[in-house]
């Protein structure tokens, strides 16, 4: 069987204890559901001497709603719980769709929201066994100094491949993290991501940061959301590209809109320039104009399967279809 590096496993029971261990043990890593980390360890992408298992932390696996209507999602919440949540289906159906689209039924029971947000970036030249990577001399992200995707010694374009992230960004979600010394930090999810896909550089938070919650602001009246995932087969497949859409509709008029492209670059990419269209009704022409903006904003790279030009074309199609779906509802459930 595939070999993981040798490590010790620690099972803290409180977030504070977990963060303290993480800070104490150099090179250690958190493991939640393990569905991203264990395959990566088997590929020898990391060789941590210690793993800090988050499975026994209590109280972080709940989906709660504040009196103001905003949602507090614990980092240990299994993806299956997100996908099956009545509360979320009623308020942010796009998030339910995103969670339900992840991998297969077993992964969704094991995988957690925290792990999904912190998912490592993915690339054809990275998510491979050690012998495979040795054959190409490593890459910029791991054991090498060259990005074979874009032919550069500077930038790593491994794709942010989480399905919930683009949706949560479209929903203006904020991340709550615990840092060593008891410091708590809250930041807009979008700000977590850097332009560099390398493991250590991909996030703006320090590596010891433990994600405790994701906060989704109150969706409010007229709020609608949907998630459109492009993949080659219908299950157990990461996105080749995705479009997350969230809007507020007042009658015909669209008073708020976010369109976020996922599985393209190390960062989720909000489609810019939409404010010009805010306040308009979502007519076919307006939908087309927004789809055109998504197309223009799209820069898929050949780091995932699926031709970049096709994935870019799909940005337009899926944005248009997503908007049509938002327009016609029935949402929220």
């Amino acid at each position: 069987m595939l070999r993981m590096p040798e490590f010790e496993v620690h099972h803290p029971t409180t977030p504070e204890e977990a963060v303290a261990l993480r800070a104490e043990l150099p090179g250690s890593m958190y493991v939640a559901g393990g569905t991203d980390l264990l395959p990566n360890l088997k590929h020898r992408l990391h060789e941590p001497p210690h793993l800090i298992a988050l499975s026994r932390l209590s109280g972080l696996d709940r989906i709660e709603q504040d009196p103001d209507g905003s949602l507090i999602l614990g980092a240990s919440t299994p993806l299956a719980a997100l996908a099956g949540s009545e509360l979320l289906a009623a308020s942010v159906p796009g998030l339910v769709e995103a969670a339900a689209s992840i991998a297969g039924p077993q992964h969704r029971r094991m995988g957690t929201l925290g792990g999904n947000v912190m998912l490592d970036t993915r690339c054809l030249f990275y998510n491979q066994s050690r012998p495979w990577r040795q054959a190409v001399g490593g890459c910029l992200k791991k054991d090498g100094d060259w990005c074979h995707v874009i032919g550069s010694a500077k930038a790593c374009v491994a794709a942010q491949s989480s399905d919930t992230v683009p949706m949560l960004v479209a929903l203006d979600a904020r991340l709550r993290a615990l840092l060593p010394g008891g410091e708590r930090r809250e930041l807009p999810l979008l700000e977590l991501f850097s332009r560099d896909g390398r493991f250590e550089q991909r996030h703006t938070l320090p590596p010891e940061a433990l994600i405790t919650h994701v906060h989704v602001p109150s969706p409010g009246a007229g709020h609608r959301s949907t998630y459109r995932k492009v993949r080659a087969r219908s299950a157990v497949d990461y996105p080749q590209l995705s479009i997350a859409l969230a809007a507020t509709l007042e009658g015909e008029r669209c008073t708020a809109l976010q369109v976020v492209i996922g599985a393209m670059l190390p960062q989720p990419r909000p489609v810019p320039g939409l404010h010009a269209l805010i306040g308009e009704a979502l007519t076919d022409e307006v939908c087309e104009a927004i789809a055109e903006k998504a197309y223009k904003a799209a820069r898929p790279q050949p780091q995932l399967h699926g031709e970049p030009s096709w994935r870019r074309h799909l940005c337009r199609i899926e944005t248009r279809r997503g908007l049509q779906q938002l327009r016609s509802g029935p949402q929220p459930r």
Partner: protein, 961 residues
């Protein structure tokens, strides 16, 4: 360092002692011997390792065992209770949902969890719940049926009588039809002998075995697509504590090949490496961690050479040579492995006279078998120098021969055992490096050695479908009769020969039929490239050319304003006809197949009339029932079967066949039951062991039911004759007055007077002495065309198949969805209809999966401006995804309903009229889908797979035109 901790599994508390970095899967299988939980990828892609944690399915390979304390774990072993197997397990058995069974423990646990939370699931819910469990055998059809049956069975409490989990209990209400008219057993939907063992996790696959003191092996593979080995330094590896032995190519210098006279491959590379993943050295060590660490310490000095990745590169003037010498030791001048040119009739004339001609270039992409069980071998030596090799092989006999050759050991000192096999499809039909390495390492280490391929190594071992490029011309007269087919074929063979010369012939020789050709010419050329070696995959060599033929035929029909089914009818061969290349086809049910799919699909009302984006397509095929000539020329029978009677009332059937999940053991049992009157539950089949069984050449070319079936029939008949005589003597009647009814020999005139079969066995032993036994054999008749190569593709019988596929095409995204496939297959006689349907459903599945999703794609190199600094472009020849996540095989959600119908043409030569069912039904899937895409959106795709990108590009081109 091991740590000790408790785990609660199946209600038992185990004190586990394992290193903390072991996954739950490793602890279950290797630590606790709970081997019912399977491993197919070890990284979360396949679902074979599914277990229940607090009632919910999870993947044991993706969690740490040490973190599972405090949970209730259930493995497949824990699903049965004191009453016997659970309803789900029994339903899987009863419905014929188990073929190789390797995916099934995981599948059954997913199904069990579903039924626990939703006792009455909709079909869509079932399909979704199983979408994380890949099955490569069944097309999910009978699995979904079984989940529904489990629900029904559980509610009806029909398992009240669960005390009897025997192999063939009669009380199972599902899937038991009556036998065919005039038979006792043949034609009934009996259960498979090994099904309940597979469903309960009791069946032992190779990696489930562990021998005392067993060491683990690991293989070092080439990081270069093409390089000369200057030297190998193994000293650092050898010096590591826990390393028992290291071997390199020089230790096994004799080349081998499944075809003995084209040996161009070594157990480990001796002079050159020829693809990324080619084996270079192997280590045996105390555990897997040490073996892998030792492999990393072997230092190989390579002189890197320019690789050739595509056939075009390989055929270019002055191209680097993949092999410097051919198998006879002569210097090579080019990379051509084999060329075949044959011509029948006046092709040029017919083309000139034709009313319609279609001509073009087609390209078939490579695909691989992807059985869920990775290859595994365990070698052990007796103190007196005899080798026993357990291996996940489908051709035990050929492996036996090549082991003797490479190891320089007399064959009588070698025993090859094939444990239960987790799928093969042609991917385990020749010897592989791990078998030789395990044998030699075990000898050197003085202890048993196991080598288990990683999933990535399975991709490198490959021997899958050859990519082929075609230039095809097809012509017809005004009535639509095919007057000429002219095909120019280039096969991308990869680095070694494998079955190469057979494949090169098959690509041409198997095309004429079940449709009649007025004239035929082909030129077929197999080329070496620096990639993993191609070989036989289900429908060896002949699946690919059906794609250009059957799609071009559709175009021809369009030109001639003929219905696509009608044009096929006009060309349909009849029973007893010869193909243009001289193959005799004793029975051909293609017309009935066409009728069946036409009616079932509503073709007449719907073809050409569905809304834009939805369409129907048809295609046909023919396939061999074994090859008349074995891989090495000899005068001996291809198959032998011995039946041995025991005074307990049991009949034991000895056969060298390899049951690879298709159910050949069960077929042999049915035949012996039919012939002798013994009830199937009193028959045991011993197969897959070269020391215990008469030779059978193995599970390839769809030969087993036909050839071993005839041998079994002969053996069974002889035994019956003997028993009837003994009974007649006892009853003092004429033997001719006796007839066989299930379990008894009785007087035809007075069926109440008779003798139980078991008593007859004892009478025979008393009269004739021990043992009471009879044998049968199968030899092929002289067959084939009277020209060089005319015997290749000659078979005693040919199956026929027709498919109608219904697809939807999204014209905005290019995404194709298959909505339904109707497949009618002429199997001659269905010895067990459930098994035949299973073969059809699985074939359709495998075909549609390769049509839409699968591609053995390799990097062809970087544009100069993107290339990493350095002398060589090291991306060339890299496999683009040697795992079950990037190499996408269809999940349950991608698989449409498949309607299988059986056509029984009763072949004059086959056992009870039977012929093949395992491979033919795959062929039409690809062209039927291509033709359906045309009906849906008006484009003709000539390159596979039919990805959204290709569909969209073709649509744009059509719009532009």
């Amino acid at each position: 360092m091991k740590q000790v901790y408790p785990l609660t599994i199946n209600g038992d508390v185990h004190e586990v002692a394992a290193p903390p970095h072991w996954s739950l899967l490793e602890v279950l299988r290797y630590g606790l011997g709970l081997t019912g939980t399977k491993q197919g990828c070890d990284k979360g892609d396949c679902g074979a390792c599914t277990v229940l944690r607090d009632g919910e399915p999870i993947l044991a390979c993706c969690v740490l065992a040490i973190s599972q304390q405090g949970h209730e774990l259930i493995t497949i072993e824990g699903l049965a209770d004191a009453d016997g197997p659970s309803p789900v397990q029994r339903a899987f058995d009863a419905c014929g949902a188990l073929q190789c069974g390797f995916c099934q423990p995981g599948m059954i646990l997913s199904a069990h969890a579903l039924l626990a939370r939703d006792p009455d699931p909709e079909e869509a819910t079932i399909v979704e719940a199983l979408s994380g469990n890949l099955c490569r055998c069944t097309g999910y059809t009978k699995i979904v049926e079984a989940v529904r049956a489990a629900r029904d069975l559980r509610e009806a409490k029909v398992f009240a009588d669960r005390a009897d989990p025997g192999p063939f209990p009669r009380h199972l209400p599902v899937a038991h039809g009556p036998p065919a008219e005039g038979f006792q057993v043949i034609g009934s939907r009996g259960r498979k002998a090994d099904a309940i063992a597979k469903a309960t996790g009791a069946a032992q696959y190779t990696d489930d075995l562990a021998l005392p003191r067993m060491a683990h092996g690991s293989i070092l593979r080439s990081p270069y697509a093409h390089a000369r080995i200057r030297s190998i330094d193994t000293s650092a590896a050898e010096a590591m504590p826990g390393v028992f032995a290291v071997v390199i190519g020089a230790d096994m210098p004799t080349p081998y090949c499944v075809i003995p006279w084209t040996a161009d491959e070594h157990a480990l590379a001796v002079d050159k490496v020829r693809y990324i993943g080619d084996a270079v050295a192997a280590v045996a060590a105390v555990d897997e961690d040490t073996a892998e660490a030792a492999v990393q310490r072997i230092v190989v000095d390579y002189e890197v050479l320019q690789p050739v990745i595509t056939p075009a590169e390989a055929l270019a003037e002055g191209a680097p040579l993949v092999h410097d010498h051919d198998w006879k030791g002569r210097a090579r001048r080019d990379n051509v492995c084999k060329t075949v040119e044959l011509s029948f009739g006046e092709v040029d004339q017919a083309l000139a006279d034709a009313a319609a001609v279609v001509e073009g270039d087609w390209s078939y992409s490579g695909s691989t078998h992807a059985p869920i069980e990775p290859h595994c071998a365990i070698a052990t030596w007796d103190p007196d120098g005899r080798l026993t090799l357990y291996s996940a092989t489908q051709v035990m006999h050929y492996l036996h021969r090549e082991l003797a050759r490479v190891l320089g050991l007399p064959p009588d000192r070698i025993r090859v055992i094939q444990p239960t096999l987790g799928g093969a499809f042609g991917g385990k039909s020749e010897p592989f490096d791990l078998e030789f390495c395990a044998a030699l390492l075990s000898k050197r280490a003085g202890r048993p050695v196991k080598i288990l391929y990683t999933r990535e190594e399975v991709f490198y071992a490959h021997r899958g479908r050859h990519p082929m490029d075609f230039h095809l011309r097809i012509a017809a007269d005004a009535e639509g009769h095919i007057t000429a087919v002219d095909n120019d074929i280039v096969l991308d063979g990869g680095a070694y020969h494998s079955f190469g010369l057979v494949t090169t012939y098959y690509a041409g020789q198997l095309l004429p039929g079940p449709l009649r050709f007025g004239s035929y010419r082909f030129r077929s050329q197999r080329v070496y490239t620096n990639k993993p070696c191609c070989g036989p995959k289900r429908g060896h060599g002949s699946v690919q050319p059906r794609f250009p033929l059957e799609t071009a035929l559709d175009e021809l029909a369009q030109q001639l304003h003929l219905d696509p089914i009608e044009i096929r009818r006009r060309n349909a061969m009849a029973d007893g006809e010869r193909t243009i290349n001289g193959q005799h086809v004793p029975s051909c049910g293609i017309l009935q197949c066409l009728d069946a799919v036409e009616a079932a699909s509503g073709w007449r009302e719907r073809f050409g009339q569905l809304p834009f984006g939805r369409g129907l397509g048809i295609a046909t095929s023919m396939y061999i029932s074994g090859t008349a000539y074995p891989i090495y020329p000899n005068e001996m029978p291809q198959s032998g079967v011995t039946v041995l009677a025991d005074r307990s009332g049991r009949l034991t059937v000895f056969s060298g066949t390899n049951d690879i999940g298709q159910g050949s053991d069960a077929v042999l049992a049915y035949i012996i039951a039919e012939e002798t009157g013994a009830l199937p539950e009193h028959i045991r089949v011993v197969s897959g062991d070269t020391e215990l069984t008469p030779v059978d050449l193995g599970a390839y070319s769809s030969r087993v039911t036909y050839m071993a079936g005839l041998a079994a029939q002969e053996a069974g008949r002889a035994l019956r004759g003997l028993l009837i005589e003994v009974v007649a003597e006892t009853l003092q009647c004429d033997p001719a007055a006796l007839i066989v009814v299930p379990g008894r020999y009785v007087l035809a005139s007075d069926p109440d007077t008779g003798v139980e079969v078991a008593d007859a066995l004892r009478m025979a032993e008393a009269k004739l002495g021990t043992p009471v036994s009879r044998s049968g054999g199968y030899r092929t008749r002289e067959l084939g065309g009277d020209y060089r190569g005319g015997t290749i593709g000659a078979s005693p019988a040919y199956s026929a198949t027709a498919h109608v596929a219904e697809v939807t095409v999204d014209p905005d995204t290019g995404v194709v969805r298959i909505e339904h496939v109707w497949a009618a297959h002429d199997c001659g006689r269905a010895i067990n209809p459930t098994l035949v349907e299973g073969q059809i459903e699985g074939s359709v599945y495998m075909g549609l999966s390769e049509a839409l999703y699968e591609d053995m794609a390799y990097h062809e190199g970087m544009e100069a401006r993107r290339r990493a600094p350095g002398e060589h472009d090291r991306t060339r020849g890299l496999h683009l995804g040697p795992n079950l996540l990037d190499y996408r095989i269809a999940t349950s959600l991608d698989t449409p309903p498949i309607t299988a119908s059986l056509v029984e043409s009763i072949d004059p030569g086959g056992p009870y009229g039977a012929k093949e069912a395992g491979e033919g039904p795959l062929h039409p899937a690809i062209p039927a889908i291509a033709n359906a895409i045309h009906d849906a959106v008006g484009i003709r795709l000539r390159t596979m797979p039919f990805t959204p990108q290709r569909v969209l590009a073709a649509l744009r081109q059509a719009e532009g035109a």
